[in-house]
């Protein structure tokens, strides 16, 4: 099914998508402390949904290929687990998972600051990457039509 691109929808999507993604980044890392990774990932996935709505699923899939989805959905988990295991390795005596005080960064700046930075920039970003990849993957799987495998649209 070939549709003519609508100029209003295309322009609004072009204007809105950068702001939605900026807002998702703000929700992810904007505040120091826990919380916001899941919501930020969902808002980031919503920007891809808007892109697909405006420009068609074939173009959306070429922007975010399936291999990227697979890689990103495990990359976020590696972020989260990796910082925890790094903390285990660095705090050998006590071996606490996600013991941020053992990181060398805690020697330079104080521990509460290190904890805030690690939570908001590593753990939350990891959660957000995984949630974004999984939500876009679900949406593409639901919206994909078999005839589009042959490049029917556009």
């Amino acid at each position: 099914m070939k549709k003519k691109p609508d100029v209003i929808i295309n322009t609004i999507a072009r204007l809105m998508i950068p702001f939605i993604q900026m807002y998702a980044l703000y929700v992810m890392v904007g505040t120091e402390g826990a919380g916001g990774g899941f919501q930020g990932g969902v808002v980031f996935a919503a920007s891809f949904v808007l892109f697909v709505t405006a420009f068609g699923i074939t173009k959306g899939r070429s922007r975010l290929p399936e291999s990227w989805n697979t890689a990103l959905s495990s990359l976020g988990l590696y972020f989260y687990a990796g910082i925890g295991i790094l903390c285990i390795i660095l705090s050998l005596g006590v071996a606490n998972y996600l013991n941020y005080g053992a990181l060398p960064l805690a020697e330079l700046i104080d521990r509460a600051m290190t904890r805030g930075l690690m939570i908001s920039f590593v753990v939350e970003v990891g959660i957000a990457i995984t949630v974004m990849a999984v939500f876009t993957s679900i949406f593409f799987d639901l919206a994909w039509k078999p005839e589009e495998d042959k490049g029917g649209e556009q």
Binding site: V42, A46, V49, F135, F139, K145
Partner: protein, 81 residues
């Protein structure tokens, strides 16, 4: 927390929920569920649970609606009688 406002919003919530399960047109049901999510998100925010309200607005009114409309495009629009 303002009790009359809560009662009005919760009354609308019940009306929207009953409408969503009785309507025959499935696209209308999806839009009513989206409205349900939006109303309950405002109720959460009004009850000072901003985190829950924001999650409900992002997931319920945003992502789930897009998923259900994408699913509806693969099936029939009218419910069988």
């Amino acid at each position: 927390m303002i009790v009359p406002l809560d009662l009005i919003a919760l009354f609308f919530l019940v009306v929207i929920a009953i409408a969503a399960i009785t309507v025959r047109d499935l696209l209308a049901a999806i839009v009513l569920l989206s409205a349900y999510s939006f109303v309950i998100a405002t109720v959460w925010v009004e009850m000072h649970a901003v985190d829950v309200g924001f999650t409900e607005a992002a997931v319920g009114a945003g992502a789930t609606t897009a998923f259900m409309i994408a699913t509806l495009a693969r099936t029939k629009r009218e419910e069988k009688r």
